[in-house]
């Protein structure tokens, strides 16, 4: 995995702060691959929050918190929440290939 221990800690903590104590974070995509370089940070976050407006705000808070702690990074978030209508294939890929943080 190509995230420093500090980056992992920051991401985990920010997810708990923004998406609630039940939040789970999975890293997937190119950052899982040790032989790759650079690239976006792709995260799957599952949360117990059901209100969609709250989820959007949590996403924005999360981006800001992480950015403040580890500098500007392009982070793509995939959010799983109770009541989410569709689960595009990317969810399956994230679950299958991802690493839990």
């Amino acid at each position: 995995m190509r995230l420093t221990p500090n980056q992992q800690r920051v991401i985990r903590q920010a997810a708990l702060d923004c998406f609630g104590p039940g939040a789970q974070v999975t890293l997937f995509g190119s950052r899982v691959d040790d032989s790759s370089r650079g690239g976006d940070i792709d995260l799957l976050i599952s949360t117990d929050i059901t209100n969609i407006e709250e989820i959007i705000r949590a996403e924005i808070d999360f981006q800001l918190k992480v950015q403040r702690a580890i500098g500007e990074q392009k982070i793509d978030l995939l959010i799983d929440y109770p009541g989410r209508g569709q689960h595009p294939t990317i969810f399956k890929i994230a679950e299958r290939t991802g690493v839990s943080l």
């Binding site: 969609i52 407006e53 989820i55 959007i56 924005i60 800001l64 209508g85 569709q86």
Partner: protein, 161 residues
């Protein structure tokens, strides 16, 4: 005061006002359809989609113009040596000088804008919620512009092209 810097400020201000005009026009066309729901998003006609796209485009461009042109131009006119400093330093300085109410708020607005560049096949409910949040935040952007307008002399913003 340097003339070129004054001109850059007046240009940036004019550009922002143009984006404001088109952004508000798009918003006015969407009146009656707000707040949006995911279900609604899926059944909008071409006209309404165009209005939404126009809103998103101008909302983003307005922020770009404020962030990359207007704010730096203000610092330049005030002869603040921040040209090569990171954005966060510029924001904090502008907050201190009273031109921005909160650099934190500005970063939140940027984060909302960045939400639109998300390239996952996302769910419509979330897209609708993000659009609603962006639409709500228009008042915050307008307040930022108003604050700047109040602190700069009308002459500073209305230079000849």
């Amino acid at each position: 005061m340097n003339g070129a810097e004054q001109h850059r400020l007046a240009d940036a201000w004019r550009q922002c006002q143009r984006h404001v005009h088109h952004m508000k026009h798009a918003l006015a066309s969407m009146e009656g359809k707000l707040p949006l729901t995911g279900q609604q998003l899926g059944s909008l006609d071409d006209e309404a989609i165009q209005d939404l796209d126009q809103f998103v485009l101008r909302f983003g461009r307005l922020q770009d113009s404020i962030g990359s042109r207007l704010l730096p131009a203000i610092l330049a006119v005030l002869q603040e040596p921040y040209e090569d400093r990171p954005m966060i330093d510029k924001l904090n300085r502008l907050e201190k000088l009273g031109f921005l109410e909160s650099s934190e708020q500005w970063q939140q607005l940027r984060a909302i804008r960045n939400g639109f560049s998300h390239d996952y096949p996302d769910d419509p409910d979330k897209n609708a919620a993000l659009l609603n949040l962006a639409i709500q935040s228009v008042d915050d952007i307008m307040a930022i512009l108003k604050r700047i307008e109040e602190r700069l002399s009308p002459a500073a913003l209305e230079q000849e092209e």
